[in-house]
């Protein structure tokens, strides 16, 4: 089946009223959480997971994926209207977006950001097809050794590229892997780190950790201080950018799409880095870079396009290789497993109906988001008036019931509260939660691949370097590690030198 035929097949599966409804709900909630500061996409996906427990994999993942890219659409709204980014990828939009709003051009900024997000998401999804399909075909050559090396390389990339402090991110990843070893071990089927607690026999469910770290943890951080938001009001009829705005933004949007997609496809880089990078590129190619920071429309168009294109890019390694690049995609990977799918190199071949329907939904979802966002931004911004004091008890209740409903067991809820406290301190002390979740989700798969590879290689560790693809992947991981160590030692030497002087 060629690509176009597969895509058409995907559309035919997607276009049922139920799937369409799930996409609309996902887009709605995605936009809403993008707008509300203090609740990121990882937490929202985790919060809405319980609503999908009874569903089939396809509608459930359609909803979850549309929350993911929908949040990037909504993220710009608060950046522009109240100078508070709804999520990390919209931080850079505050630089020019809020200035535009102060100059009375909030409508243009919101309009351009919606159009840019649409172009980034739509073109990014086309690019996703052309990258993911060959990648999936190539990954058919992967055995357990290659998969182990790929996970190792992916995890190191996520830590080296994404984290603020490499040591703390690595520790977070190792702790995630350590949590993954709790439960029945994959070799002998015997209980490991269970200590006679029957609830731990199946291991620690990732939903429990995600809800704790991202849900309860974020609530505790936000609820510690009162949040009061005064938004700049935008009339409905002023949301359309002028033709000049559109003409000025075209180049920025095209460059933003390309940068966003490629950065997004790299594990760990993600939409925040993509938006900063595209802003930097726009500033450097601009004839009058001094306009940036003073309300330049390109300064809104480029990052908003890039962060949506990055979402499509991030779906490529997730669908074709089973490697998540961020906390949100790790939750999506965990969800895939929860619905009984086997993410990894074989997903395109074992579940083509699911994969193509999901890709088809991304095209439709972006159109839904454009329709929702362009005329309805003033309505969405009304949600900022809902007091956080009403919102956070609801979030806590959804976390409690969501986790309880996993196995109708209160033990999981206590564990979630424990991770909630840990999540609070992690957020407070700048320890990234994404590597922890990625480690927990990928850990058991990595361990299984390691054992299978060694069993196939009759116990010889050389199996990882004699197979060419595995050797290349490990080589990349090694080069990255050496580069990071070198940089760290150099930094330390410089600091010591400064102190001695």
């Amino acid at each position: 089946m060629d690509i176009l035929q597969s895509l058409m097949h995907g559309f035919s599966i997607f276009f049922t009223p139920y799937n369409l409804w799930m996409a609309v709900i996902g887009c709605f909630f995605g936009t809403l959480v993008g707008i509300l500061p203090g609740l990121g996409p990882s937490a929202t996906i985790a919060l809405l997971l319980p609503f999908t427990f009874g569903m089939d994999a396809t509608p459930a993942m359609i909803m979850i994926t549309s929350i993911y890219y929908g949040s990037k659409f909504g993220g710009s709204t608060t950046s522009i209207l109240i100078n508070v980014p709804g999520e990390g990828a919209s931080v850079v939009t505050t630089f020019d977006g809020y200035k535009m709003a102060l100059q009375g051009r909030a409508g243009s900024a919101l309009g351009i950001s919606a159009i840019g997000s649409f172009i980034g998401g739509f073109v990014g999804t086309i690019a996703l097809i052309f990258v993911a399909v060959p990648l999936a075909d190539f990954s058919l050559k992967f055995g357990p050794a290659e998969y182990f090396s790929l996970i190792l390389m992916g995890m190191l990339t996520i830590v080296f590229v994404g984290g603020k402090s490499i040591a703390k991110s690595l520790m977070s990843g190792v702790l995630g892997l350590a949590l993954g070893v709790v439960g029945t071990d994959v070799v002998q089927g015997a209980p490991r780190f269970v200590y006679g607690v029957p609830e731990l026999m199946d291991g620690i469910n990732f939903v429990v950790v995600v809800m704790g770290v991202f849900g309860i943890g974020e609530v505790l951080v936000s609820a510690e201080e009162f949040m009061k938001m005064d938004s700049i009001k935008v009339p409905f009829n002023k949301l359309w950018p002028t033709l000049k705005d559109l003409a000025d933004s075209t180049g920025a949007m095209l460059r933003g799409t390309a940068i966003g997609f490629f950065v997004g496809a790299l594990p760990g880089a993600g939409s925040t880095i993509a938006s900063f990078l595209s802003y930097g590129v726009e500033k450097s190619v601009a004839k009058h870079p001094e306009r940036f920071g003073e309300g330049a429309i390109e300064g809104v168009a480029a990052p908003e396009t890039a962060n949506n294109a990055a979402c499509s890019g991030a779906m490529a390694p997730l669908l074709a290789l089973g490697i998540p690049g961020s906390g949100a995609t790790a939750v999506m990977l965990g969800a895939l497993m929860m619905y009984g799918l086997k993410p990894g190199p074989m997903l395109f071949h074992t579940s083509p109906d699911f994969v193509w329907a999901l890709i088809a939904s991304m095209f439709v979802g972006n159109v839904i988001l454009l329709i929702m966002n362009l005329p309805m931004v003033p309505l969405f911004s009304l949600s900022l008036r809902v007091s956080y004091s009403i919102l956070y008890p609801i979030i806590i209740l959804i976390c409690v019931i969501g986790v309880y409903s996993l196995s109708t067991n209160v033990f999981d809820v206590w564990v979630m509260l424990l991770f909630g406290v840990a999540g609070y301190f992690m957020k407070k002390y700048d320890i990234s939660g994404a590597p922890l979740i990625i480690g927990l989700v990928l850990g058991p798969i990595m361990e299984h691949s390691l054992y299978r590879a060694l069993a196939l290689g009759q116990g010889r560790i050389s199996v990882f370097v004699t197979r060419p693809i595995s050797a290349v992947l490990l080589g990349i991981a090694l080069v990255m590690t050496i580069a990071v160590c070198f940089k760290t030692v150099k930094m330390m030497r410089t600091q010591i030198g400064e102190e001695e002087r």
Binding site: F53, V400, V410, D430
Partner: protein, 154 residues
């Protein structure tokens, strides 16, 4: 951040030691493959090395570089607020198994709104009835979740 890093490093160091010691209770190898103790052992070693690095780095780092970066531990009103949120949530989890979800959720929201957020009693109770009722209907009848039951089967 130095102090926070040091505390995190020490907690991780303790965890890593525990991980290594506990992993020795499991087989390190089987016939051809590593045993169940292999991965936890090496994860413990990695965590130990990283913790030592972070500890060393946090001691070595210059104070001048730290200005403005120190994270404040919650204290005073903020600490009380956090403590109360956690206490009320723990109460919710404990009592929902005894008095049922609806009543526990109602009391939980009412306590948060009236005690913590200083809503008037009437407003707090009204919001609690609406919100706990809506959540009950959504989870029980739309999503078919088997919620903890208490008196009157609710």
């Amino acid at each position: 951040m130095k102090r926070a890093d040091r505390i995190f490093a020490l907690i991780s160091l303790a965890l890593s030691c525990w991980l290594v010691i506990e992993s020795l209770n499991y087989d390190y190898t089987t016939d051809y493959t590593p045993g169940p103790g292999f991965l936890p052992f090496w994860l413990g070693i990695c965590l130990c090395l990283l913790s030592l690095f972070l500890l060393f780095d946090s001691i070595r780092r210059r104070d001048a570089k730290e200005e403005g970066k120190e994270v404040k531990m919650p204290a005073g009103k903020a600490l009380l607020r956090l403590g109360l949120i956690l206490l009320i949530t723990a109460g919710l989890v404990f009592f929902m198994m005894k008095i049922g979800f609806v009543l526990a959720a109602f009391v939980f929201i009412a306590l948060i709104l009236i005690v913590l957020e200083k809503y008037s009693i009437v407003k707090g109770v009204l919001y609690s009835i609406v919100l706990s009722g809506a959540l009950f209907l959504i989870f029980r009848y739309w999503l078919n979740v088997d919620l903890p039951k208490g008196w009157c089967g609710l």
